[in-house]
Amino acid sequence: MLQESRYREGYREAGWLFLSALTAPMVLGCFCVYLYRLSADGSAIAMGIVLLSAGLLACSAMVLFAGDPTISMVSSSVALLDSVALFTILLPGSGSVFADAAILFAVLVAAVLLYGRTVDLPSIGRTRLKESSVLIVLLLPVFLAVGEALFLGLRFWESYQLGRPSLLFVPLLALWGYVEEGLFRGIVQRSAVPLMGSRGAIVLAAFLNSAFMLFWGSLPYAIFTFFLGLLMGYLYLRSRSLMYVGTVHALQDTWLIIAYLAMGIAIH
């Protein structure tokens, strides 16, 4: 019995190393996209696509061949992230950024829902919300929005040519917060808990989340996302509610956009 326990423990440690190797192509691929955003060098994006494709296939093979089902589960979530990253890279080109956003949003929502239905994610227990949770959901997004604005600089989004602001677009931005939390907290973090423990899973999900944000070509944005991911991961661990952390994230995005609109920063 003790020997079997030690065997499983050793297997998990090896699995952790395997997982680090499997997430490396995803992170390096995102970093190549970051380099492309900085230099507009075509070879950087080609390398990024190769790395993400290799990571996707390696993770899929790991799902198939890993002896421990917990390793298979995390590998499948990283494979989904790789495929989403490839989708994001290869998608633009329809001529309408709005159409691209709608397509990406629809595909991501379907992928997150599909993952929840097809993969038996580990149980995290019943939702645990307290009275103070209401206070947190009302106040925390405001502080986070102010924190993001201060950390990134109030004029951060100006470099993205946001154009004439549309209040109609704010709800879609808010829904994006739910999707992001569903993908990184609901899938990556939750699937990694049996293998890496709660803390390790939070760090892994936050790290992959920040790597994905390198697509926007800003290291400060990725760093902010890492710390935001840690906070959201902790909130998810405590509340066990995806809707709860999704609401906090959505309200934070909404407050940020409304603040920018109010200050007229996005208007050219």
Binding site: R37, V63, L86, F87, L104, Y160, F215
Partner: protein
């Protein structure tokens, strides 16, 4: 007016804008999709189900790219 109106979408979709060539994108997508499908064919039960979301994303990308090619948006 309409184009500027929608530029806020750049906050969601990273403004990469290099996938104007359909062939490389289709090749990458097909290779990945075939790889996942082959592995999914070998796998059974729970492990096969774990590959469905990734395969779905790639299939959605393939369909989108084909739709854009047919629409004439890509060459």
């Amino acid at each position: 007016m309409a184009a500027a109106h929608h530029h806020l979408a750049a906050a969601i979709v990273p403004p990469l804008g290099f996938a104007d060539l359909a062939l490389p994108a289709l090749v990458v997508c097909l290779v990945c999709l075939l790889g996942v499908l082959v592995l999914g064919t070998v796998a059974t039960g729970r492990r096969r189900r774990m590959m469905i979301p990734a395969a779905y994303s790639l299939l959605a990308l393939l369909v989108t790219l084909i739709a854009l090619v047919l629409r004439g948006g890509l060459v």
